[in-house]
Symmetry: C2
């Protein structure tokens, strides 16, 4: 028998397994990963920089689906919108990872590189240094809130008694299947056009 083509354990397989567990349970533990891979917990630790290191591997994996070319678009608000759309799609694929990733500090170099590019586009556009992080965080609020919404059931409101909430019943009946995307585009374009207006009028 020859050697297996792939090593039993490597960072890629640990990341894949951790992401599977997070997709199912919203959390992971190192012993859970070891059990699924049929190895000792200590062996997993041998390959990664502790549990936090696995969180960063997850962040890199999820963020790898974000299109870096978004930042090449012109003007700056088109670049931010393209980044936001791609960022939303990447995180909507793993909604249960969102709280895990948003409550751990960002250390992954490739992800920090994305923020560097976002900051650069905003500075080049003329935003003042103290406003840059709030402008980015506001965009992320919209992106991550909408990514969570993409994981919501199609029938998100269940009215046992329509007469109790008649106007909600009518509004739900009139909303289309595309309401999630429509809401995201409304928030995204509304926010960006407002920020552009503040920038152009010297208020930001």
């Amino acid at each position: 028998m020859g050697r297996p083509r792939r090593p039993l354990l490597d960072r890629e397989r640990i990341t894949t397994t951790a992401l599977e567990i997070v997709d199912e349970l919203g959390e992971f533990s190192v012993p859970q990963i070891a059990k699924r891979l049929g190895v000792q917990t200590a062996s997993v630790y041998h390959h990664v920089d502790g549990r936090d290191g696995i969180v960063e591997l997850l962040r890199e994996r999820v963020a790898a689906a974000i299109d870096d070319a978004a930042f090449d678009q012109e003007p700056w608000d088109a670049a931010m919108a393209a980044w936001a759309r791609s960022y939303r799609a990447a995180f909507a694929a793993h909604p249960r990872a969102i709280p895990l990733l948003t409550t751990s500090p960002v250390r992954a170099p490739q992800v920090l590189g994305q923020y560097e590019r976002a900051v650069g586009r905003l500075l080049d556009a003329g935003f003042a240094l103290p406003d840059v992080m709030p402008v980015i965080i506001a965009l992320e609020n919209i992106v991550l809130g909408s990514a969570l919404d993409m994981a919501a059931p199609e029938a998100m409101w269940e009215l046992a008694d329509e007469t109790a909430t008649p106007r909600l019943a009518r509004a739900l009946g009139a909303a289309t299947e595309g309401r999630t995307d429509q809401a995201f585009e409304l928030a995204l374009t509304g926010y960006l056009s407002h920020v552009r207006g503040l920038l152009e009028s010297g208020q930001l």
Copy 2:
């Protein structure tokens, strides 16, 4: 010995215990609740409408902190902004409940009542019926994304090597401690002023 003043088990205690577990773990199971309360799992089921019923009790408990008086404000966009601010504070107190609540259909009558009021304000303001739910969902994207952000560590970006991301380092250095609130207000007021503009110009 007299009877205990409170029954060993009631819906309120089940809700409190479920919320404690969700705050710690991001999830709950009925056996976990039973164990903490020192009762049989079947006894818990006797008081609630299954696991989904407990999710709705959690939703009611979290949403009870939302200020209903927000909807009395004038004009409509001030009402929506006040609702959004109060909604954000209520959910930021239980960030780990957010994914649980956003992936289960809303059935709690009091929470449906809040949506009824929001829908009513938007219809009265002149929004077309098919646009009402997207306008509300977009607001919720901002609210829930920001509530998650409020649970983020103060030092959310950890740069091991500042020379790799020099502009991000400067932007982080210039951002104030209030960046979370500043970002939320930027997204909220930006979105609402955009939507008001679309409404007033007949585009929405």
